[in-house]
């Protein structure tokens, strides 16, 4: 259904379309950030595409891609045509600290969506007239949906009371017990790659979150070598 739009875009923009995929029937087109608004406006205005119904703008954080030299964020636009009943997903890769042109002149609905992306990822939109935090409060520091923002960090506006004397204490503090998340992004990005869930362990292949568990394999091989070396040393002594 929306393959037509992909072809239309490829015909119109040629090399500006960096990638066109069709995973599970979701048509997705990748463009460079500088063509973001141009392609979006074309999607809305061309009669064969006519994507007048704004659906969503969101982002995904890939800090590991940045370490490999790529751009850190994926920003995505989802839109839909009332007339033709087809959809398109527009994607762009944006480096950290770079600004993206705002879509608010194209669809008014992008207003809150872009504010949310700014609030959660710290991506700034150029030309947005009212770019301020929307879900979090103004005093909040950091960008919560970035992978390097720890999930258990708290920033209370009013300081927590000292609850030593009450019986409402949790059974353990935040540093004790089971880790809250299965992936410790802080460790992973620092290169130590000590994944959480120590109770589960490396052997189960659990600690790796990525599908390619090359690091886990390397660690296992290292461990095996060490064991072999230990075994070789023991009879000598």
């Amino acid at each position: 259904m929306s393959k037509k739009v992909t072809k239309l875009l490829q015909k119109e923009f040629g090399d500006k379309i960096l990638l066109a995929t069709d995973f599970r029937g979701d048509a997705e087109v990748t463009v460079a950030p500088k063509h973001w608004v141009e392609v979006a406006t074309f999607l809305r205005d061309h009669e064969k595409s006519a994507m007048d119904h704004f659906t969503d703008v969101t982002a995904v954080d890939y800090p590991e891609r940045e370490m490999e030299g790529g751009a850190r964020f994926d920003v995505l636009l989802l839109c839909r045509s009332m007339q033709h009943n087809h959809r398109m997903r527009l994607r762009t890769e944006l480096a950290d600290g770079k600004k993206l042109a705002s879509l608010t002149p194209v669809w008014s609905g992008a207003n809150w969506a872009e504010r949310e992306v700014y609030d959660m990822f710290g991506i700034e939109f150029e030309g947005h007239k009212d770019l301020r935090r929307i879900l979090m409060y103004d005093e909040f520091e950091g960008w919560p949906l970035r992978k390097d923002y720890p999930i258990d960090r708290v920033q209370p506006l009013v300081e927590y009371r000292d609850v030593d004397s009450t019986l409402k204490l949790p059974p353990f503090g935040i540093e004790e017990g089971q880790p809250f998340a299965r992936i410790d992004w802080e460790e992973r990005l620092a290169g130590r790659d000590e994944q959480v869930s120590p109770s589960i362990g490396l052997q189960l292949g659990q600690r790796r979150a990525l599908s390619d568990s090359k690091v886990a394999e390397d660690q296992a091989a290292e461990l095996a070598q060490k064991k072999a070396a230990d075994a070789a040393e023991t009879p000598e002594s």
Partner: protein, 406 residues
Amino acid sequence: MEAPDEIFEDEDEALEIPADPMRLNMGPSHPAMHGTIRMVLDLDGETVMNVDVQPGYLHRGFEKSCERGTWAQVFPYADRLNYVSPMLNNVGFSLAVEKLLGIEVPDRGQYYRVILGELARICDHFTSNGAGAMELGAFTPFLWLLKVRDWVWDILERETGARMTHSFGRIGGMAFPPTDGFADDVRAIIPEIHKVVGEAEGLLLKNRIFLDRMQGVGILSKERAVALGCSGPVLRSTGVAYDVRKDHPYMVYDRFDFEVPVGEDGDNWDRFMVRMEEIRQSIRIIEQALDQMPTDGPVSVTDSRIMLPEKREVYTTIEATIAHFKLVMEGLKCPKGAVYSFTEGGNGELGFYIVSDGSGTPYRVRVRPPCWYNLQAVREMLIGDMIADIIPTFGSINMIGGECDR
């Protein structure tokens, strides 16, 4: 002769009304703002000149929380998005993961999902319309509608074990097959729903106060609604017949004969009436689904890499034990990739954009909350109306804080 002039001059000064609009904070915990939300109003007399709607007071970090567990552990969070129709969220999320996996649920499971989902939609519309009327002083219809909503919840409780937050959806099906008396229970409740909808309409539709406060208030135009990304009853009330169930049929919705009610003006009245009519259409879908639903067969896929094997097998066979262990400890492994899957939730297009990196943990779960965009349109509905009109307009949006703020 000079004295009166002096008096007039003084009076002029005394009666001078400041030309600046008055700024008024409404919320975040105002009794009429169900769902914690704050509105900063600029008022000229009683007329709303400008309004800044500030959501976020119920933000709990849904999307961040999803990134810390397994795919299956998202269901309890999804329940708490739109907590008056949790079954629709459950089904929406499982459909998204199933799309990523490339699997399809057996027919019986699909019908089961449709029926439970439509019951949840009826509950959602009951709540919205009932509470909306209550805020205008009509308490009786609210109580009557909620009485029947409770009976619907009785059915859901019998099926799922919980009245509200069911966590009943599973990736690849439903947690349990329908109970023995399910079809009879649902058939028995249908006349009651019809009856109470009629009764509520009888109480409200000719009530002068209700008419005055609903008709012509909170108007949204068709073009603006589309550009602002509205969906669901809010969009349909403006005259756009967009319903995901009709336009992009998912599950088995293409097998049912039902209509999409639309309004004309996009005012509170139309939103109210669209919801009332949708309850009737949902009943039509349920009746047809009950007739078509197979009485035998599985409701879930039997692949033990996706669904938990049966408990009896887990305790007796080693294969099932291993499958169970792997699913619980490592989680379901989704292929690498990203999909956007959308369903018709209680308030409109409920979308899930999910990204998997191939491990057992979701890389990113983005929910496209219909409330978010409907609420964005509230600003345009309110400007120019009176301050008292905020209550019915905001009520007719049916903003659910859990879904809007996540």
